[in-house]
């Protein structure tokens, strides 16, 4: 137990040294570290509870995604049957997660089924090999054809929706000019957004809370809004409210002239004549062509600029707009014009997002937590160190050296893993100091016992290590299991605790098995002790 080959000793020291050195980048300012080679840049990341910032968990509305898809199926069914000149009665109904259509003539059912089956696409595009399709077309009997969305198709659609949403969220968050935001998918329908340093997420939530579906549509002038409100609404139009107060109703045609997807750029600026904030935009070629054509045909009529089913403004077309660019005015403030420009540039979200969890910590509180955590760590370590010195004297010195290296290695490993340090994480390190010395206590108490049992110094030390190490391993694995479970179930600060606790156990076992033994072995070789001062 007390004999180490030269190479083994060297290996142990080198390992400990390298792991400790990994902590070095944390002691330099971030700007300095940035100039170092990439492999040397790994460092601890402070959790949001320590550096301040916002954590948002957003949920994609899966019902909305399903409804959108069903509406799309309904339109497809109508078009297909009309094109094939197959009569149906009662329209296409959407219920029970499926679209249903009743074919008028019994003889038309088979041809209709064949036609509608063409709507169904294999999942995963051409490369899809699962054999699953995105639509289930079946004969429900009595002339009714049912078009349902299979589970796999819905999951696939949700996955794509999330992917798209993440891209849009990323663009919108980046527009805020924040430093190193984290945007990740979580589970089947959630997106996690972490923005360090953001103290008030109100504006971020406003930006993320809008779908930003932008449409240019004609105003229906055949019916005045107040009559339409009483139910005399033409079937090809709908009633929309104004975006700015007071809510004013508009009758707007359902047909979309140009959609937001055709925009290539949007900027907040000031109107040259009135000086009020406006958003100027540019269309791509096809958008410009469509817009030019629409404005040519409708000179003198009002059109509506619709954002998320609310009318921003409804200007009258004075002359055809052929240049592919224009500006939107609509009672904007500088901020709201800016936000709209951001939303238009970033693009529309495929489905609305809801904030289901929000946690924000101000930088002041974070700094306070760091200071308190540091103080507690110092005081805790000092108390433990003094106690060990008083209890075990020279061997207490050995234990303290081992614990110091242990803590340095914890920081090294945390840096190497780019782990996040949280306030409970600091608590985990302090607790590790308390628990780490336990391995030394186990060994030393065993040595004391073996001495009492009548062994000579060296044999007692040897037996003490041999017997205690197995116990150390056994007892630490239980705590490690708890830490692993905690890591799995926890989020944010709690996960930070699990990480430091788990890493602390690994370094503790390492130091007990190698460094403490090595130090004692050296001392034994140097002193050749007749008695153990323990």
């Amino acid at each position: 137990m007390l004999y180490f080959t030269r190479w083994r000793a060297l290996g142990i020291i080198l390992t400990a040294l390298i792991v400790c050195l990994c902590a070095v980048p944390n002691f330099f300012p971030e700007a300095t570290v940035k100039t170092w080679p990439a492999w040397a840049q790994r460092r601890l990341v402070l959790g949001l509870d320590l550096q301040g910032g916002s954590y948002l968990l957003l949920e994609v509305d899966s019902n909305y995604v399903k409804k959108e898809r069903l509406d799309q199926i309904r339109d497809d069914v109508r078009r297909t049957l009309r094109d094939a000149k197959i009569g149906f009665t009662g329209g296409v109904t959407v219920r029970n997660d499926a679209a249903e259509v009743r074919i008028t003539k019994e003889t038309d059912v088979q041809p209709a089924l064949a036609k509608l089956r063409e709507l169904s696409q294999p999942l995963g595009g051409l490369m899809g090999s699962s054999g699953q399709r995105d639509l289930e077309v079946s004969d429900a009997g009595g002339g009714v054809i049912r078009l349902g969305i299979p589970q796999a198709a819905m999951l696939d659609r949700m996955r794509k929706t999330i992917e798209q949403s993440i891209q849009i969220v990323e663009r919108r968050v980046n527009e805020l000019g924040t430093v190193e935001p984290v945007i990740q998918r979580q589970g089947n329908d959630r997106i996690l957004v972490q923005v360090p340093g953001l103290q008030d997420p109100t504006r971020l939530k406003e930006l993320l809370g809008k779908t930003a579906k932008m449409e240019f549509r004609m105003v229906d002038t055949s019916v005045p809004p107040d009559q339409a409100q009483q139910g005399r609404l033409p079937p090809e139009s709908e009633l929309l409210m104004s975006a700015s107060p007071p809510p004013t109703p508009y009758v707007v045609k359902k047909q979309v002239l140009v959609a937001g997807g055709d925009l290539t750029d949007a900027q907040a600026s000031f109107d040259q004549r009135t000086g009020e904030p406006v958003v100027s935009f540019k269309f791509n070629t096809s958008g410009a062509r469509k817009f030019a054509q629409a404005t040519q045909e409708n000179v003198g009529l009002p059109f509506a600029i619709v954002l998320d089913n609310k009318v921003i403004s409804a200007p009258v077309i004075r002359e055809p707009i052929t240049g592919g660019q224009g500006q939107i005015s609509g009672n904007f403030t500088v901020q709201s014009a800016n936000d709209l420009a951001i939303l238009l540039r970033a693009g529309a979200l495929p489905a609305p997002l809801t904030v289901v969890e929000e946690r924000t910590v101000g930088p002041g509180l974070g700094q306070d937590s760091i200071e308190k955590g540091e103080l507690a760590a110092y005081v805790g370590s000092i108390l433990v160190i003094i106690f060990m010195l008083l209890t075990y004297r020279l061997f207490g010195v050995f234990a303290n050296i081992a614990v110091a290296i242990n803590v340095a290695m914890i920081f090294g490993l945390l840096s190497l893993l780019n782990a996040t340090l949280t306030l409970p994480g600091i608590a985990g390190i302090v607790l590790t100091v308390g628990i780490a010395v336990d391995s030394n206590v186990l060994i030393y108490e065993r040595i004391r016992e073996e001495l009492r049992g009548g062994r000579n110094a060296i044999s007692a030390i040897d037996a003490g290590f041999k017997r205690a190490l197995a116990t150390i391993l056994d007892s630490n694995i239980t705590t490690f299991i708890a830490a692993a479970v905690l890591f799995y179930i926890g989020t944010g600060p709690v996960r930070g605790f699990a990480v430091t606790l788990g890493i602390g156990i690994i370094t503790t076992v390492f130091t007990a098995f190698t460094l403490t033994r090595l130090i004692v072995a050296w001392w034994v070789r140097w002193k050749r002790p007749q008695s153990v001062p323990i």
């Binding site: 968990l57 008030d200 809801t354 904030v355 289901v356 969890e357 929000e358 946690r359 101000g362 509180l365 306070d368 308190k372 507690a376 005081v379 805790g380 108390l383 433990v384 003094i386 106690f387 060990m388 010195l389 008083l390 020279l394 207490g396 010195v397 303290n400 306030l423 409970p424 600091i426 608590a427 302090v430 607790l431 308390g434 010395v437 206590v441 186990l442 108490e445 004391r448 017997r467 197995a470 116990t471 056994d474 007892s475 694995i477 239980t478 705590t479 490690f480 299991i481 708890a482 830490a483 479970v485 905690l486 799995y488 179930i489 926890g490 989020t491 709690v494 606790l501 001062p533 323990i534």
Partner: protein
């Protein structure tokens, strides 16, 4: 001021280290060598006490309940700090009560300038929580700085609670399986009874002190679990060793010897962990106060007691070490490990 104290303590450590290295320090023995306490006989007192305390804890849990924190209950939490002077809680309460958000709890937190504001979950799903937050922010105005905000919708809160409970169960089962592999099943069962005892008593403590039961409490519970088992495993290791060595020693005596020979280690480790937790409790700030308070209770008051007075003596009832003389090969837990 704190820095001077820290530097002073650092110097003290340096001096002590030198003195200790030179061998000039007297030896401090917290626990005398060769103790012979009859711990197993004490089981006739400790078992009924533990059973009674467990019943009290369970009763408390059902009558008082746990003070579910925002993590598990949903709702809104704000930590605010008055811009100048102390926070006027009464004035704040009138302002916030007028918002019609149901019961608004205000509580001084840390210093007199800090206030913790809690609003229960609003009916109407996730969007309603966000609307409530906006109202609160508006009503608080410029007189305070908002230090911390937490808003949880009903579903996320429900999921977190389910996850937390699942985690706790998972940890117990995983540890149980591990112990079953390393020891005999009686040891695993004994450790689990001790485990559940720890958790039940700690939950009773949380119920009586009404600290927030949230994700950090689960972390505290898991740590207590790990730590208490750590202690138990050390004693079990020794019992296993003794069983192998003394085939004819009566079980109560064997258990006593095992506990007594590891007693010094138990106490010393206990002191070091207590010192570390004490530092966290006194200096770690209010953000982790309830976290460390729960751990202090579980580790310092319950964990070690359980290992000595429950986990070890219970092995008698589980039939460990019976019939050793008749069939030592099968009854001795002879696994590969030679602790």
């Amino acid at each position: 001021m704190t820095h001077t104290v820290l530097i002073g303590l650092g110097v003290l450590i340096a001096i002590l280290t030198v003195v200790a290295a030179l061998g000039l320090l007297p030896s401090l023995r917290i626990v005398p060598d060769n103790t012979h306490f009859d711990f197993t006989r004490f089981r006739r007192i400790s078992f009924p006490i533990s059973a009674a305390l467990s019943i009290v804890a369970i009763t408390l849990f059902f009558t008082h309940g746990l003070n579910l924190g925002i993590d598990f209950k949903g709702g809104t939490l704000l930590e605010v700090k008055a811009r100048s002077g102390t926070a006027d809680i009464a004035a704040m309460r009138t302002k916030l009560d007028a918002l019609g958000l149901g019961e608004v709890q205000l509580q001084q937190f840390g210093g007199p300038e800090n206030v913790l504001i809690r609003v229960a979950e609003q009916p109407g799903g996730d969007a309603a929580q966000q609307a409530a937050l906006q109202k609160l922010r508006g009503a608080l105005g410029d007189s305070v700085d908002i230090q911390r905000t937490e808003v949880l919708g009903p579903r996320v809160a429900g999921e977190l609670l389910a996850y937390g409970m699942l985690g706790l169960m998972l940890a117990i089962v995983a540890i149980l399986i591990y112990l079953w592999f390393r020891f005999e099943w009686q040891f695993a069962l004994g450790a689990m009874i001790a485990n559940v005892h720890d958790i039940v008593l700690t939950i009773g403590f949380m119920s009586i002190s009404q600290v927030d039961f949230d994700l950090t409490s689960i972390a505290a519970l898991l740590t207590i679990l790990g730590y208490s088992l750590n202690d138990t495993v050390v004693i079990y290791d020794r019992i296993r060793e003794m069983l192998r060595r003394y085939k004819k020693m009566p079980m109560p005596q064997l258990l006593n010897e095992s506990i007594n020979s590891t007693l010094s280690r138990s106490i010393i480790t206990h002191v070091t962990v207590t010192l570390a937790l004490l530092a966290l409790l006194l200096f770690g700030g209010h953000a982790i106060h309830s976290f460390t308070a729960v751990m202090m209770f579980g580790v310092v008051l319950v964990g070690t007691y359980t290992s000595i007075f429950i986990a070890a003596p219970i092995l008698i009832y589980l039939g460990v070490g019976e019939h050793r003389e008749d069939a030592p090969e099968t009854a001795t837990p002879a696994k590969k490990n030679k602790a």
